[in-house]
Amino acid sequence: MRRIRVAQALSALALIAMAGAAFAIGSSPVTTGPHDVLAPAGVQADRIGQLWNVFLGVCTLVTLAVFAVFALALWRTPRATGETPADLSSLGRHESGPYRTVVGAVAVSIALLLVLLAASVWTDRALARMALADALSIQVVGHQWWWEARYGPAANEPMSDQFVTANELHVPVGRPVIVTLTGADVIHSLWVPSLAGKKDLIPGRTSKLQFRADHPGVYRGQCAEFCGFQHAYMGFQVFADAPADYAAWEARQRQEAAAPAGAALQRGEQVFLGSTCIMCHTVNGTTAQANFGPDLTHVGGRTTLAAGMLRNTPQDLKRWIRDPQKIKPGTSMPASTLPDADLDALVAWLGSLR
């Protein structure tokens, strides 16, 4: 036993040494909401949580029962030595004790499996039948490595009623949401563990995810299907707002970007419109209308940058624009060669787009 402890201590030392040799990259910590299967905040995740309890209960009981029989078998069975001859008395004889036990155990197993199957199918049915009256419709498109979200229009509204945002969804508490999903490049998977199970965003196909947030709060989500270089940093947030707050947010999103107030902000807008930014980004109310990168019309109102990787502070925004490849290698956004003063003006103007 002492030797095992020595081995463990040595292993721990090796681990600490190697971990110490590594170094962490610096970035502002992002505050995050719940991201946990076991902390449901919506009806769908809640139903799955209840099913989890059923499965966990049954499986734990069965595991303990098997362990008990196993331990008892090892404990009670007589020991053999190298000279013990094989006991062939079972040949040509029906072993009625083991036979009854094995058949009984298999029968119990089948019964329990049927219980689990029924519970699973019942939950699945309940998930599919969530009430969808007055549902909010959002289309989410997965990109390497960020999320594009298009709100509305409802079936009979004109396309111009649509508005676009990125990496942050707002939904009203208590109202069902239907998310229509597709992938722009490779397969991604939208997953907000506290609200619902995941669904893939598949190029060439559309899939639907339904959920409802029942408690106000911010819930973190993340891409769950390996999608290349920066799969690890493809996060997003879902803000479950009180209905009045949601309505105010929606009204704000529908507006075009406000005209810049003051010379400094005007300077920032000019830098934006005069540089390569407009090759990829949209700011409604200006001539920038490209849709290769995230829509920036209200970027100042978001809490994070680069798909949940950075906090949306002027310092981090500046760092990001100057050299995105350093922060998130592989991202499509190129480094910027803007002089410092222009960069500051640009960051100030982007920050004002709320």
Binding site: I4, A14, A86, D200, G330
Partner: protein
């Protein structure tokens, strides 16, 4: 030499062979010496030992990839490596462990053991067996070379399109992965043919279908599964190579292709593949447990039927890897039912083993320890498998560390722990010496504790929302502590594998001399010397029960009448193993090796140019033609041995 004259037909006999006959058999069946002899070897034991050693070398490599990943994940926002290396590492770990270790090592052990267990002189198609080994080796070396040159694949061992397609994986990385599939599947399919033919046609007389050792049953079921599942992934990977190399659009949605097609084809192979790995592990348990419980296995027939049922059911589960896609919801429920159903045959086997343990007398030795670990680890893995079978639970934990925990619990509990037990169990047969018992215990306990420390926390990480295949994670996620614990467990596993390697290396020359049957086992491999002579058995045994060594003594004891000067083996009937005919087996030759080199050039060349497919066939054609060209002298010798009925 009158005693070498062929008899009119094989006879059942109880007169032992003479020492002159034994010496002649050794001359006839051994592999030739020298370098040319080394590449010409066709003896199944030579190929089997090379196969097992190579597979373990890849196991070490795959383990080191995993260890590097664990060090990177040990703390949040760790800068040990970037996404480029990390993505290569998890792709290499998965591909190496699945394609270069877990499936081949089972076939490798079978290639060594099956002729000994079944009482014959060779595997069927010994030259093809050698060819399959070389193909496997070259495919593995290609993958390792690509990784060493920093052009290793980085799209995951599952290589989902469109990420692995031409638009999102430029360069040759994904092509190396796809050609690895071609290599290993070719090798796997050939080995499947070898195994099925060996088990069905080369058994000793009297070994009727209901007396075949359970390990042989698991291997024959696995081999049939390989034949039905592997064409699916070969089709998928060939279509991927064509998309990448010659501009087809099988998986391009913009041109009417479908990205989900890949997932269907891959998992139609990929789920049965789990059982290629698991079923032989069950075969190891069914070999080890009766020996160390000192009684025949309880419920032989139920065990055989369970293995066959598992084989069939495993083809009906593949969609449970695709519950998060947009397939119809009702259809997914059927796959929930099928996935739960496969627990039944596994339960039957577990209960039968428990009954064997319960009614036996136990001798605790290292092989039994590894076998018993199954009952802890696999049961936990099976339970998390039930959870993953349920659509609602799966869409929460799919692609999280919960799945990583589950798959390691089933694959290590179901296959790797039994495999280590099997190596400890049969090592004396391979080498003539026993592995050290003391180091064996260290190996076992470090592995068992390290495994649970490494993988149990992953269940919790998955439930706390940690996705798979992330090269790092933010400190704010709160996953740091569990990941550090998991990395510590990985280091314990590494220490245990070091114990194993030292034990295997040291015992080769210093282990206790084993003798033919050190554990008192009941199957036929224990009826011959350790290590066995080149011909396996100086006289082919006649079988009178399921455990021929335990039930020895009935007459006749062996077969007479096979030539000792020519490679003759006895072919028996499929059902009842009646002696059927004498079959002439081929001599050693370097041409399988040369053919494998030509095939490797063809496969690797086609990564770079489609013309390799055209010109590459010419050397293969030449090499295989010479391989199969009949030799006048050998034909004459075989004709001389022919007897009219």
């Amino acid at each position: 030499m009158s005693d070498v004259a062929p008899a009119a037909s094989p006879m059942l006999n109880s007169v032992p062979p003479t020492s002159g006959q034994a010496a002649a058999l050794e001359r006839t069946w051994r592999d030739p010496p020298g370098l040319l002899g080394w590449i010409s070897a066709v003896n199944h034991k030579t190929i089997g030992k090379r196969f097992i050693s190579t597979a373990f070398a890849f196991f070490i490599a795959g383990g080191l990839f995993a260890l590097a990943m664990r060090l990177q994940l040990a703390k949040p926002e760790n800068g040990l490596m970037g996404p480029d290396l990390y993505n290569q590492l998890f792709t290499m770990h998965g591909s190496t462990m699945m394609f270069l270790f877990a499936v081949p090592v089972m076939q490798a052990v079978a290639v060594y053991l099956l002729p000994l267990m079944l009482g014959t002189r060779s595997v069927a198609f010994p030259r093809m067996n050698a060819f399959a080994y070389w193909i496997y080796l070259f495919g593995g070396l290609m993958l390792m070379t690509a990784f060493a040159l920093d052009i290793g694949p980085d799209v995951g061992w599952f290589a989902y399109v469109p990420l692995s397609g031409p638009d999102y994986s430029p360069g040759k990385r994904a092509d190396f992965w796809a050609q690895l599939i071609t290599f290993t599947e070719l090798s796997g399919l050939l080995e499947a043919i070898v195994i099925v033919t060996t088990v069905f046609k080369l058994r000793a007389p009297g070994m009727t279908l209901n007396r075949i050792p359970l390990f042989a049953w698991t291997m024959v079921v696995t081999a049939f599964m390989v034949m039905f599942a592997m064409p699916s992934v070969m089709l998928a990977s060939t279509a991927l190579i064509m998309d990448r190399l010659v501009g087809t659009h099988f998986y391009n949605p913009a041109e009417g292709g479908d990205v989900i097609l890949w997932q269907h084809l891959f998992w139609f192979f990929g789920h049965p593949e789990v059982y290629f790995i698991f079923l032989p592990g069950l075969g190891f348990l069914s070999s080890i447990i009766p020996t160390f419980a000192r009684r025949p296995i309880y419920g032989y027939t139920a065990m055989v039927l369970s293995v066959i049922a598992t084989g069939f059911l495993s083809f009906g589960l593949w969609v449970h890897h695709m519950f998060a896609t947009n397939l119809p919801d009702l259809g997914k429920s059927f796959f929930t039912a099928a996935s739960l159903m496969i627990a039944i045959p596994s339960a039957v086997q577990i209960f039968c083993w428990l009954a064997t343990l319960w009614t036996g007398r136990l001798r605790f030795r290292t092989p039994l320890y590894f076998a018993l670990a199954f009952f802890v680890i696999l049961v936990i893995g099976g339970m998390s498998g039930l959870m993953l079978a349920s659509v609602p639970l799966d869409v929460q934990v799919h692609d999280t560390y919960f799945v990583v925990a589950h798959l390691h619990y089933v694959l290590l509990g179901g296959a790797v722990f039994p495999l280590f037990g099997a190596i400890y169990y049969w090592y004396p047969k391979f080498t003539g010496r026993l592995m050290g018992e003391r180091l064996g215990r260290w190996n076992f306990w470090l592995f068992f504790i390290g495994f649970n420390v490494a993988f149990f926390p992953m269940h919790l990480l998955g439930l706390h929302g940690m996705p798979r295949r992330v090269y790092t994670y933010g400190a704010e996620m709160g996953w740091g502590t569990l990941n550090a614990v998991s990395t510590f467990g990985a280091l314990l596993i590494a220490a245990s594998v070091l114990c194993f390697l030292y034990n295997a290396w040291h015992s080769r020359s210093h282990g206790a001399v084993a003798g033919p049957n050190p554990w008192g086992g009941g199957t036929l491999e224990w009826a011959t010397a350790s290590p066995p002579p080149a011909c396996n058995f100086e006289a082919i045994p006649v079988v009178h029960g399921r455990d021929p060594v335990w039930e020895a003594g009935a007459e006749p004891t062996h077969v007479a009448g096979l030539s000792v000067e020519s490679r003759e083996a006895l072919v028996t009937t499929v059902l009842d193993a009646h002696p059927d005919k004498r079959e002439a087996f081929p001599n050693p030759t370097p041409w399988p090796f040369v053919s494998a080199v030509a095939t490797a050039v063809f496969f690797i060349g086609s990564i770079f140019t489609p013309w390799a497919v055209v010109w590459g066939t010419i050397p293969i054609g030449i090499a295989t033609t010479i391989w199969f060209w009949p030799k006048r002298r050998e034909t004459a010798a075989h004709l001389a041995l022919e007897r009219a009925p």
